[in-house]
């Protein structure tokens, strides 16, 4: 397989030499033409190679990878009445090993994220009592309809809260009650409304500065008409978009709509920075807001603990990363201790937004779906067949992060003399990771260490 970063660098330096180096005007048109042709040829080869292995459309986002779940395989997993054969075990094993082809993601993700459970009693966080991979098509349609209505109800509540805010006098200074609300005790006359106003402000701040990396992965949304984008923005009260392109206004307005609904759905967490990073890829894949919302709820079922006010969830996860490093590489751990970095605080961002900032958009989608398939397999009670293979784990992300730290072992041991240098290394790691190599390493660690961690 070609190494695309090398190809990119090669073309890049050739273009620079050609453009900057040829001061002779006679040669410039020829060189420019040659460069363009060469770049075009490289791109064509890249697209052929990438489409042949059927993963992403952007070749430089891909590494050597295993085969993703294709449309044909996906269709063949279903019986005539639309039930996943064998309780979905083979389906989950397939996704765990190679991810999902982009053309079926929107159908697959709700299964991975536990959207199709039978709702026996609706109580915002205890929906998950009876996980169901055995649903029929008709049952799923009914669940989808029920959930669409529940989402619309949440959106109506968002509007009512916003109206209520407008009616309150401006002297109602909204001193944040974040720190108090962690105890669950209401501290003001209407703490939920006060919190929501705070969350709404921060949600909008983050929606405006969301990145545009999703655009190549979602052509229909990238081509949204300006009128539609502005209509949605106005409907959710998102007005500060300045001169943003219509597709980005649209994406930002969807972020606002779904995150506000989530804040009401899960007021203990509300909104916390980083959640927009987790939602943006889901919006890119799921075109309907209600479906994106329930997928996000499924994702947050585990991730929400990272955003708790007491930070207990994130601390536990950093401790697991630390323990994995200690068990796997005592020398490295000892070096981290010497630098006072054994708490792995440098991995905070990697854990909190599930490597979204470190991976490319395409890599993120691959990692997350493999991680969700692992979690779905745990929920389905699947424990793995062979004793030496990695069983599914709820903590695959933490193994991947530990693997990422271990891949930097040499630099940490030989070059870094302070925790700041380690922090800098991991803050600037974006674009340097090979997701399938990381998953290989991580799954090796799961096989070796899972019984010492769980």
């Amino acid at each position: 397989m070609l190494n695309w970063s090398w190809v990119e660098r090669g073309i890049g330096s050739f273009v620079m030499v050609a453009a900057g180096g040829s001061s002779n005007g006679r040669w410039r048109p020829f060189v420019t033409l040659a460069v363009t042709a060469l770049a075009g040829l490289a791109l064509a080869v890249a697209l052929v190679v990438s489409s042949r292995s059927g993963c992403l459309t952007l070749p430089w986002c891909r590494e050597k990878r295993r085969h993703p779940l294709t449309r044909k395989e996906w269709n063949n997993f279903f019986s005539r009445d639309g039930k996943l054969r064998g309780g979905g075990i083979k389906f989950l094993a397939k996704v765990r090993s190679g991810g999902v082809d982009p053309s079926v993601r929107a159908e697959v993700w709700p299964f991975l994220l536990g959207v199709y459970v039978q709702i026996t009693a609706y109580d915002h966080l205890t929906v998950w009592c009876s996980y169901d991979m055995n649903s029929s098509r008709a049952e799923r349609d009914a669940i989808r309809e029920q959930r669409r209505k529940a989402y619309e109800k949440l959106r109506r509540q968002c509007h009512q809260s916003a109206d209520g805010d407008d009616k309150r006098s401006s002297t109602d200074e909204t001193e944040s009650s974040d720190s108090q609300s962690s105890t669950g005790e209401p501290t003001m006359a209407n703490p939920a409304a006060v919190d929501l106003a705070t969350w709404q402000r921060i949600i909008r701040l983050d929606a405006i500065r969301a990145d545009a990396e999703w655009i190549p992965y979602s052509p229909p949304q990238a081509a949204v008409r300006e009128a539609e984008a502005l209509r949605l923005a106005s409907a959710v009260g998102f007005t500060d978009y300045g001169d943003m392109e219509p597709c980005r206004v649209y994406h930002a307005a969807r972020l606002v709509a779904v995150l506000e609904a989530y804040a009401l759905h899960d007021p203990e967490i509300g909104y916390c920075q980083g959640m927009s990073d987790l939602l943006s890829p889901i919006l890119a894949v799921m075109e309907e807001d209600d479906e994106a919302f329930w997928c996000f709820v499924g994702f947050m079922k585990r991730a929400r603990h990272n955003f708790r006010h007491d930070q207990a969830g994130i601390q536990r996860q950093l401790q697991v990363v630390s323990k994995l490093i200690k068990l796997h590489d005592a020398d490295l751990y000892q070096h981290l201790e010497k630098l006072q970095a054994e708490d792995c605080a440098f991995a905070f961002r990697m854990v909190l937004v599930a490597l979204r900032r470190e991976l490319t958009f395409g890599q993120t989608l691959c990692l997350w779906e493999v991680m969700w398939a692992d979690q779905a397999a745990v929920r389905a009670g699947y424990r793995g067949r062979r004793t030496r293979s990695a069983p599914p784990t709820d903590d695959l992300l933490l193994y991947v992060i530990a693997a990422c730290v271990l891949q930097r072992r040499k630099a940490i041991m030989e070059r870094f003399n302070s925790v700041a240098e380690i922090q800098k290394e991991f803050n600037n790691i974006a674009g340097q990771l090979d997701i399938w190599k990381l998953l290989d390493d991580a799954q090796g660690m799961v096989a070796a260490l899972h019984d010492k961690i769980e």
Partner: protein, 208 residues
């Protein structure tokens, strides 16, 4: 270990979400502005060589997440800080009201040896917005608060326009240096003349 002799001054920037902490740091270090910086998760830092009198220092500027929920993480990042920069948005009252929380939280978590005299600097950012017409915190009010907290130096800045950013960080560097114990200051040093450090004049001082 000659390179380690150049003294490191560690500065922490705190303040509510969206007040411009990342933008101020990038404007000072890289002379760039973008309104597309993503929300900071955890903490990140940039370094810049500064010259004070005839000596070179490395200013290590830590940018932190602005949501209160992340404050408990502070202890990992505040360790060894020499100066703390409190930033608010002159157009958002709540970001000013919260300065006190940020200050107290910093003192609690960093637990400096002499909290009474630990150097803080306050920056009122985004003075460019709407030609100043949307501002809700007056300079007088901000200065009064700074005076009440032991005469904290105060600057009004625009990270977007680069207004007053250089002056504010000069003051920050000098205050960070004052916080360093004397014996460290007079360690032998190698002066890297080609280091591109910015000349800082002690006499320029801070105006407030």
């Amino acid at each position: 270990m000659a390179s380690r002799r150049r003294m490191l001054l560690k500065v922490i920037i705190l303040g509510d979400s969206g007040v411009g902490k990342t933008s101020l740091m990038n404007q000072y270090v890289n002379k760039k502005f973008s309104n597309q910086y993503k929300a900071t998760i955890g903490a990140d830092f940039l370094t810049k060589e500064v010259q004070i009198d005839d000596r070179l220092f490395t200013l290590q500027i830590w940018d932190t997440a602005g949501q209160e929920r992340f404050q408990s993480l502070g202890v990992a990042f505040y360790r060894g800080a020499d100066c703390c920069v409190l930033v608010y948005d002159v157009n958002v009252m709540k970001s000013f009201d919260n300065l006190n929380n940020w200050r107290e939280e910093f003192l609690l978590q960093a637990s400096p040896s002499d909290p009474e005299n630990f150097p803080f600097i306050v920056l009122g950012n985004k003075i460019d917005i709407d030609g100043g017409n949307s501002r809700v915190v007056s300079e007088k009010k901000a200065k009064a608060w700074c005076a009440s907290k032991g005469n904290i130096p105060y600057f009004e800045t625009s990270a977007k326009e680069g207004l007053n950013v250089e002056a504010a960080f000069q003051c920050i560097a000098m205050n960070a240096l004052k916080n360093e114990p004397e014996e460290d200051i007079y360690l032998p040093d190698t002066i890297d003349v080609a280091g591109g450090g910015r000349q800082l004049q002690r006499s320029s001082g801070c105006e407030c």
